[in-house]
Subunit: 352 residues, 2 copies
Amino acid sequence: MKYTIAVIPGDGIGPEVVNQAKKALDAVAEMYDHVFLYQEAQMGACAIERFGKPLPEETIAICKGADAILFGAIGDPKYDSDPGAKVRPEQGLLQLRQALGLFCNTRPVKAFDSLIKNSPLKREIIIGTDIIIYRELTGGIYSGKKETSTDGLTAFDISSYTVEEISRITHIAFKASQSRRKKVTLIDKANVLETSRLWRKTVTEIAKQYKDVVLEYLYIEHAARQLIINPKQFDIILTENLFGDIISDEASVISGSIGLLASSSIGPENALFEPIHGSFSTAKGKDTANPIGSILSAGMLLEYLGLHEEAGAIERAVEKSLILGIMTQDIKGKNKYPASTSNVGDFIADYI
Amino acid sequence: MKYTIAVIPGDGIGPEVVNQAKKALDAVAEMYDHVFLYQEAQMGACAIERFGKPLPEETIAICKGADAILFGAIGDPKYDSDPGAKVRPEQGLLQLRQALGLFCNTRPVKAFDSLIKNSPLKREIIIGTDIIIYRELTGGIYSGKKETSTDGLTAFDISSYTVEEISRITHIAFKASQSRRKKVTLIDKANVLETSRLWRKTVTEIAKQYKDVVLEYLYIEHAARQLIINPKQFDIILTENLFGDIISDEASVISGSIGLLASSSIGPENALFEPIHGSFSTAKGKDTANPIGSILSAGMLLEYLGLHEEAGAIERAVEKSLILGIMTQDIKGKNKYPASTSNVGDFIADYI
Ligand SMILES: CC(C)[C@H](C(=O)O)[C@@H](O)C(=O)O
Ligand SMILES: CC(C)[C@H](C(=O)O)[C@@H](O)C(=O)O
């Protein structure tokens, strides 16, 4: 089969990790007789430099026309230190999520057996952990009105949610849990926030349609603690945009390195796949970044295209590289002859 | 000297832990020749039952008239499962914070040597950790307008901050860091939130007045990860209300039990001291809850009253109890002959 894949390398280590994911896809194409047509597009700091804005129209058009989107990373420290900057790289990603309605962000978190010693957490705490986080990605405080007063003395951000926004991702999360351990944990702050109470009410109502699934509630601050003291209690985590951002980055400590984690962001007609690590600009161009998050994102992309066997081939190749210790310095350690970004990519592509 | 202390036992395990803190204060009074006059006041679920509201006027009056306030815990599961409830226990605490303007919440987090094995984190990660979290406690999304539409289909919460609100706690945090390791980490989400950008701008400006202090910035999701992979990098953490709630609960994993942590909430004229653990209603009345968070809160209260030696006596007694293993089941383990709540309180009072 023939598929068009929009490729957005983005900033920092984005381009180099995306290159490895493409190698893995090329290997899959050869093995399983597919054709992947890559269409490269710009977004982020690099797009600001070239086009004066973080998300050119052309990028949106390429993404809309593609079967799936493979994305690297976004952000540049230059903009972080300037709270007054009008244009920022991250706006590109936020605008793309809105333009394509990518409301359902999925982030799987596992303790990889071969990497358990890399986690700051004790072995017995994390062994066997297997969580999928469903984060609502287009609503909440990310997309609400935000403003600083003209005198610069006051600022506000509005968080809002509708029953419809909550419902569509809730159904997806409950359905996913039915083929897993049948437990959904809703993370909110219902003792303080009105939006959280709407989440709790809506999700409780929908849960009645999934009688085989257990629904639990947890306040965000308790979740941030429980994720560390007892991560195995979680199967599916369901939450709103900001809490999902926090919880999924925090959860990466379980896997031993944030460089290992992949994510999908799915809307009614489009789907984007990216590692959850950021642009990590200090490592840019050094061929030291971990490409596995990006390669596993390509695996999720294949899954989305219905290519299950092909996705499995990527996952097995990644596991093999970890077992054999063909790993970048973030997990191997700087002094232990780590592999480079491209070494890892080459090995995985060859193994496929 | 003679001091009036407002005592709010609150809900769940609140009353039993506050009783132990009072024992410790009584011991201090005897040793150092002070008089502590306790004035008991109601707040939370218990107040809803008796007065129909979580914060009776009388409680505010007692608190305003006292030299300091000692508080237990708030909340009842009965209200959590009902997102439609108009009156909720937590409103009592939120209203009291507003009524007294308790804007500066301080939460110290330490790895206690004798308890390092209790943490889910590895020894080498946490040993020597010593952080104080400064959380802004009256602004942000907690106190902004919040509403659900009359058709029940949309809800919103507004987060807002003023330069003045940010400035007053920032000065306190920077001053505190000057007698410590001279580093302040501001936690925000400046790549998305307008309020965070106002925080970043204001704090950056104020930092110029404290040339001996290093200021660092961290996005909330990165902070949630860094707190686990490298907690020793932090000295003073400065942050807004919601992020402070999340980060401080999460940080409790470093100490081995949330039952150990104390906090102060200080305003222009009043100050409240409470453990950071919640009401934990399933343990209510069982004499198993850890009273140390509450006893250390009493220690912070003495510090606030200028009674430094007396505060030190409480801290030393707590450390002794931990070294001798006179500990409740949360840290000792259920099967290892844990001490009861009152055992621990008696030991600490005797030792003082
Ligand atoms: C880059 C940033 C705007 C983004 C977010 O906060 O959503 C990132 O942290 C993520 O989680 O994808
Ligand atoms: C009880 C609740 C409203 C409160 C908060 O969120 O501030 C609590 O979690 C805390 O941290 O003191």
